[in-house]
């Protein structure tokens, strides 16, 4: 052999993988030099022994229950992981292919195994499995926590609304008998707080539901008129913010297939925002119209323009503009409004300059 690349005995003995030949009774007929050097056994020690004697106990069970049957049934088994125990007693992680050689009648003659040392790869795989298991556990924990949180928020929302309704009823009763200006002022303040509080609770519940998978659900109704709902929402806000002028312009000519209470909530959030951030000396304009197959609704106010860096974050949850602490909300109003717009297949956009700030909701009429 002048060219060692074609020396087949050398190719077998010093191949870059281990070769093992097994007889049909599972005993080692031959193992190549690579395999012997990886495992540290002398050849005469391996030959004649059962191959499974060199496997970890788990490997033996796997060999008997999977590898041996598969070799008989399909004639080969590729890419299985196996741990061969070396002469020093330490397992060597390998990946192996096995092939059953058969005679013309299909009877098995012997089995050829090619084994590749794969310590790093197997370690990496086992780490992936560990990471997956850890992630599964952590996901299950998160889900449990999140379910608890959902229940907590639902219960909290319910429990907060009841006392709020009592305060509201009490304020109405006091309002009927109020005589002095001061009494009227206190009652108006109570009612304004109730409206604001109710809005905050609604937003918190919607946000929680949206985040926890429920999303904003719609109860659409194309037949019922929308305008009275919008007017009622604006009126409530007007009553709770005496001294603020809110103008309304409606040109709703065709039915709008929407969830009216959700659109009411959207308007309430936008007007509430305008009351908080707009110039108190200037009127707020609420306009709604149907035209060219679209329903458009906008809320505009005068005042300082929204800073450029705030514009991109306005609709993100918990974003709060610069206002005095007593008017500070949760930063959910605009986020919920944009989610309501999205649920209707529409958009909520903002434009702001020194003249005015306008939030515009546009949705297609079906």
């Amino acid at each position: 052999m002048s060219n060692p690349g074609f020396d087949y005995i050398d190719l077998f003995e010093n191949a870059p993988c281990g070769y093992v030949v097994l007889l049909t009774n599972g005993r080692v007929e031959r193992a190549n030099r690579t395999m012997l050097s990886w495992t540290g056994y002398p050849a005469d020690q391996m030959v004649g022994k059962r191959f499974s004697d060199y496997l970890s106990m788990a490997g033996r069970i796997f060999y008997e229950t999977h590898i041996a049957p598969l070799l008989r049934m399909q004639g080969f088994f590729n890419e299985f992981a196996i741990d061969v125990v070396g002469a020093d007693g330490k397992p060597i992680s390998m990946i192996a292919n096995a092939l059953e050689m058969r005679d013309a009648a299909g009877e098995p003659l012997f089995v050829r195994l090619a084994l590749i040392k794969a310590t790093d790869r197997r370690l990496y795989e086992s780490q992936l499995l560990q990471a997956r298991d850890a992630a599964k556990i952590s996901l299950a924990n998160e889900r449990a926590t999140s379910e608890l949180r959902e229940q907590f928020i639902a219960v909290l929302g319910h429990d907060l609304r009841n006392p709020l309704a009592s305060i509201s009823a009490g304020a109405r009763i006091l309002g009927r008998d109020a005589k002095t200006d001061r009494e009227h002022q206190v009652v108006a303040m109570l009612q304004s707080t109730v409206v604001r509080m109710a809005g905050l609770i609604d937003n918190v519940l919607d946000f929680a539901r949206g985040r926890l998978g429920g999303g904003i659900t719609l109860d659409r109704n194309a037949r019922a008129p929308l305008q009275p709902v919008l007017h009622q929402v604006v009126d409530e806000l007007r009553l709770s913010s005496p001294g603020r002028e809110i103008r309304e312009e409606y040109m709703i000519d065709v039915p709008v297939d929407c969830d009216r209470s959700r659109i009411g909530q959207l308007v309430s959030n936008l007007v509430g925002n305008a009351i908080t951030h707009g110039a108190s000396s200037q009127p707020i304009l609420v306009s709604a119209a149907t035209e060219n197959g679209l329903f458009k609704l906008s809320v505009c106010n005068a005042g300082e323009p929204i800073p450029a860096d705030a514009m991109t974050k306005l609709f993100e949850p918990f974003f709060r503009g610069e206002v005095r602490a007593s008017r500070q909300g949760l930063g959910l109003g605009l986020h919920i409004a944009s989610q309501i717009a999205k649920a209707h297949g529409g958009t909520l956009t903002v434009s702001s300059n020194t003249k005015e700030t306008c939030f515009s909701f546009v949705m297609p009429l079906l």
């Binding site: 009774n25 106990m57 788990a58 069970i61 008997e64 229950t65 598969l70 008989r72 399909q74 741990d83």
Partner: protein, 263 residues
């Protein structure tokens, strides 16, 4: 109403009046009997099936609670037996299914008139003087090791297999399909198998039982086979020349001859 025929991928062949039910153990599926079952088709109605979780069984029927014990698997055998109206049938169980068959025979007397146990073990884990061949720690290692061999199973593969539960010929084209199982189910079945202990059930068996013991079987060592022999009153014990744990594949002729002698 559960369709047990579909659930367990039951295959019926053969011409005989008396039924012979073949049950595979942990590892592969009913193909384990491919070299043995045809030999009995002339004289028996052969019934082959896949344990739920294996082969062409309906994976959606897998229920963690039901299959947490071998009793759940025995219930499946009984349900198949009822569906087919089996009486005085022969039950042939390989490996852990030998015990599943024993449990089924105890549940419904008369359904099985004879038991053939190939490589049985009443308990795999050593216990005092009892030799099962395994330590508890080794079984835990096995469960970890099974994870390293996903048997060609991948998430992408699962729907293909499950979607073709009624057309197993499609699945059989795939590599390693004879041994393919959902890895979670395989692990659970391994756990149930290797942690089972049926030592107290065996003396109750009152039908003739043939025990086929392999030479050099590391899963069911000879001591375990002898324990089964000594525990079942009416048992016959035959040590095969075949080595390993699957004589039904490696030495079918020897298995067939021993079974013919018995049935």
């Amino acid at each position: 109403m559960v369709d047990v025929i579909k659930r367990n991928n039951v295959r019926i062949r053969g011409l005989g009046d008396r039924a012979m039910v073949f049950a595979h153990g942990f590892g592969c599926d009913q193909n384990m009997w491919r070299f043995v079952a045809p030999a009995f088709e002339k004289d028996f109605r052969t019934v082959l099936f896949d344990q739920v979780g294996a082969g062409g069984s309906d994976l959606a029927s897998y229920d963690n609670a039901k299959y947490a014990t071998l009793g759940g698997y025995a219930d499946d055998v009984v349900e198949i037996g009822c569906e087919l109206g089996l009486k005085d049938a022969v039950f042939v169980g390989h490996s852990v299914s030998a015990m599943i068959g024993a449990l089924a025979a105890l549940k419904v007397p008369g359904m099985f008139g004879k038991l053939v146990m190939v490589g049985p073990s009443a308990r795999y884990i050593d216990d005092g003087d009892y030799i099962g061949g395994f330590g508890e720690k080794q079984i835990e290692e096995l469960l970890q090791f099974l994870e390293a061999n996903h048997m060609g199973w991948s998430i992408q593969m699962a729907p293909t297999i499950m979607g073709n539960a009624d057309r197993p010929e499609l699945g059989e084209e795939l590599t390693n399909s004879f041994c393919r199982t959902d890895p979670e189910i395989a692990k659970a079945f391994a756990r149930v198998t290797f942690q089972s202990d049926n030592r107290t059930d065996l003396p109750e068996i009152n039908v003739p039982t043939l025990i086929l013991q392999c030479s050099e079987d590391i899963i069911a060592p000879q001591a375990a086979g002898e324990f089964v022999r000594d525990s079942i009153p009416n048992s016959r014990f035959v040590v095969l020349e075949a080595t390993g744990h699957c004589p039904n594949l490696s030495a079918p002729d020897e298995v067939i001859a021993a079974m013919r002698n018995f049935v």
